[in-house]
Point group: C2
Chain length 495, copies 2
């Protein structure tokens, strides 16, 4: 039988990151490009399995917080979308409009939700009457549409994507503030515990906050290869801005009417892209064991004339079953039109954390060969101790991926205090921690002055002001304006 051949990733990660990422996502079977509409991607089974794992963790945590699942419509009337002036200004350029149904022009066009504040808050206004109706906490899993034209990238920036969005209303600012951070913690756990991606918790600048909100917290990841930060998830305090526009008020215990305090927060399929960027290598995808669709791929290594193929094949099936019975997600690559070398490359491309090879010698010695995807380390293990070893290795890989990623980000992180240091660090693709005066105009100015430099991708901006602040000496000056600094903020180019 003729064995099929196929090319792997055609470019090195560190030589052409953009094309490397695109190939890893496509050849690794996470997405397919939708040729009919630019910036739209099909999510394939591996991507959906990872997304489901994220959903399960999130659902379990959010249930403990008494947030309830709803489904709100994808259609937003223009009048509602335009109620909060800053909000619509932020989203207007990328809103897709339905103007026709069948042959009929609609009297009032409907927007497809770019986010659902303006869909949901008219209902908050209706449902919330008294203090007993608070807190009101709703969330939904859905698709959203943002017709962005710049730089479409699978998972990272696409015109339709899947996400979870939460919307809550409280009687007091204190309760609302507390929830902003509680949710941020869950998002941080999704990234750090499941996806093995280190993130920084912080507060966005005025320039970068959610359109129409009071303040935005986020978790930020950093991609050392490109030297760019990436917003990984956001949890917004909306204050009372939307309550005012949508008339969301309640009567307190004393009969007084007040506006509610609102939050909104979201985590999207972008998380899968950040994971791919963080762990992928020149061979392809590298999945952390906790989210890997398959944790182990079993492959038979036939040797011509040595052993009966069927015996090997049965041994592989038996090993797979043993693994599955122990709760490990395992599969056998049983395809008979591919060589085992091809199968190894395929398993590496598709990111399963462990490969188990079984050849005639392994059979004779009652052992299997286990190969780690993250380090390439190989070891021969007796069949009897296999489960324990596999479980142990999966734990180790999960930890190692996080540790390596964390160390890389730390190595890229640089504290600067002057403009010259800043420019130099930026040219070296660093994640920059700098003292800042916290003035809107200064951030705009930094962006302008660093636009078009050799690192590409627009000007530098704040990624966040980390919740964990280094000590700020009393006389520290802003690296950019020379005015007294108010805080340490992370700066860099970003996705």
């Amino acid at each position: 039988m003729k064995k099929e051949t196929r090319l792997g990733i055609s470019v090195k990660r560190d030589e052409d990151y953009g094309n490397w990422y695109s190939e890893v996502c496509r050849f690794g079977d996470l997405v397919e490009y939708y040729e009919s509409v630019k910036g739209i991607y099909i999510l394939k089974p591996s991507a959906m399995k990872i997304w489901k794992t994220i959903q399960r963790l999130f659902d379990a945590e959010i249930e403990k917080m008494n947030v309830e699942e709803y489904y709100f419509p994808i259609f937003v009337p223009g009048s509602a979308l335009e109620k909060e002036k800053n909000h619509i200004e932020g989203f207007a350029p990328e809103v897709a409009w339905v103007t026709r149904a069948g042959d009929t022009e609609l009297a009032t066009p409907f927007a497809l939700r770019p986010t659902s504040e303006t869909v949901i808050y008219p209902f908050f206004s209706k449902w919330i009457r008294g203090h007993r109706d608070l807190p009101l906490k709703v969330y939904q899993w859905c698709n959203v549409v943002r017709w962005e034209s710049s730089d479409p990238t699978p998972f990272i920036r696409s015109r339709e994507f899947l996400w979870q969005e939460g919307h809550t209303a409280f009687a007091t600012k204190e309760e609302a503030d507390r929830e902003v951070l509680d949710v941020l913690n869950i998002y941080s756990r999704v990234y750090e515990e499941l996806l093995a991606v280190p993130v920084i918790k912080g507060i966005k600048s005025e320039n970068e906050k959610f359109a129409g909100g009071l303040y935005t917290t986020s978790i930020e990841a950093f991609i050392p290869s490109t030297g760019r930060g990436i917003q990984a998830a956001t949890s917004h305090s909306l204050g009372q801005n939307f309550a005012k526009m949508f008339d969301v008020t309640f009567e307190d215990k004393k009969g007084k009417r007040s506006m509610v305090w609102q939050n909104s927060w979201g985590l999207s399929t972008r998380s899968i892209g950040v994971m791919v960027m963080t762990h992928g290598d020149d061979e392809g995808l590298v999945f952390p064991p906790r989210v890997a669709p398959f944790q182990v791929v079993v492959i038979q290594v036939p040797i011509k004339g040595a052993a009966d193929d069927q015996v090997l094949c049965n041994a592989c099936e038996a090993v797979k079953s043993t693994l599955q019975e122990a709760g490990i997600r395992a599969k056998v690559d049983i395809r008979d039109n591919y060589s085992c070398g091809w199968k190894y490359a395929d398993q590496e491309l598709k990111g399963s954390p462990l490969r188990i090879e079984i050849g005639p010698r392994d059979l004779a010695n009652d052992q299997v060969r286990i190969v780690r995807r993250d380090t390439g380390a190989k070891m021969d293990v007796k069949r009897g101790g296999m489960i324990e070893q596999v479980k142990d290795l999966l734990e180790k890989i999960q930890r190692n991926l996080y540790d390596v990623a964390k160390r890389k980000v730390e190595e890229c992180t640089q504290k600067v205090e002057t403009w010259d240091e800043f420019v130099k660090a930026l040219s070296q693709k660093k994640l920059i921690l700098a003292p800042w005066c916290d003035e809107v105009e200064v951030e705009k100015d930094v962006k302008k002055r660093t636009r078009g430099d050799e690192t590409g991708g627009g000007g530098a901006k704040t990624l966040c002001t980390p919740l964990e602040q280094p000590e700020l000496r009393k006389d520290t000056l802003c690296f950019a304006s020379g005015k007294p600094a108010k805080k340490w903020s992370y700066w860099g180019k970003s996705y």
Copy 2:
């Protein structure tokens, strides 16, 4: 404290079914109407919990069939949508079009998927090359948009709804045919085992089959109060029609190119509406225990001056915890601004299968009072035997709801052989089983002749030709045309 009051359902089911249904859905907290867009509904937590239960059963079954989950885009280019002529003719009038993004008119407008054959099959064409790529089985959970103008009804007919759609391709017609029925069986189990709704498995007529397909199988439910059938889910054989249009071919083992055989199948949130229609009564919703968001609601019955409220309250919490530990979905209605009578009515409105009342007398006797939602039967049960009793009752209620519904449909079913019998049965809102010549024109004629009669709702049509056929005497004539009959088919008005 002033106790709140509220009206229950304002109309009787058998007097004004349409308004009864709408009130049950709204007051029972399943949906909220979206005033901004006609025919669109917000799904509230109860509805979402039922939908999740359906998803869990379906996912588990479909995984056994090796169908994999994807996510395909909501946007369909017009050119793809229009490829299969019959298909676009079927859907064109209700397709919503995106024509603008931001301020820019799109060069080519995109349709929002009414169903995803035309989104997915270009990928089938790309992914399927040889016989090893078959069968290819994909499915997704998503929202779909059908801008229908007639008779919007929560769950039953709405302009955006949630569903699962499956799309599969096989090398042979035999495999495809087998899967059509395998999926229909899963759908039937969702209705009969989870939702306690009896359904009829059958084949749709040429008039009623899926636009562009070869043949359509469906499960049909029947609503005795209105005398209307309702299509509960469909599983289509597409034959090779779409394969031809989208060039989905494969090379077989001998190197010959052939077109694949395709199926598509779907189950939507309509299922929740059919369940509500089947079991609801004048007090409100009645949920089958297997899908009930809460299977038991515990309510304290304070008697003035008799016992300490806090003691009762603690007893209720303890009972709830005991139930939850036994895996029963239970909650306490702890609201202190409602009387217990109000809470009973509220629990009945919202459909929980069992209510447990605990008053001072129950405390003294170490017992609880259990009340069935379906029959209203009350019984006093010792605390020690409560769990066993509750579990037993939940099983009984599940079975009883199905049995009662089944009996009602059977009582409404009438076999007729002549036109006069048919017209009479139709006026009596029967589900009619009649011998038919199976001619398209005859069905159209029946529809025309029965339109505008006193039962309303358009003309009568075939609901399906049941897979289980009564014996057809050799000389049986079609009830409508007098020609030789080929089969027994179900006829009636429908949703």
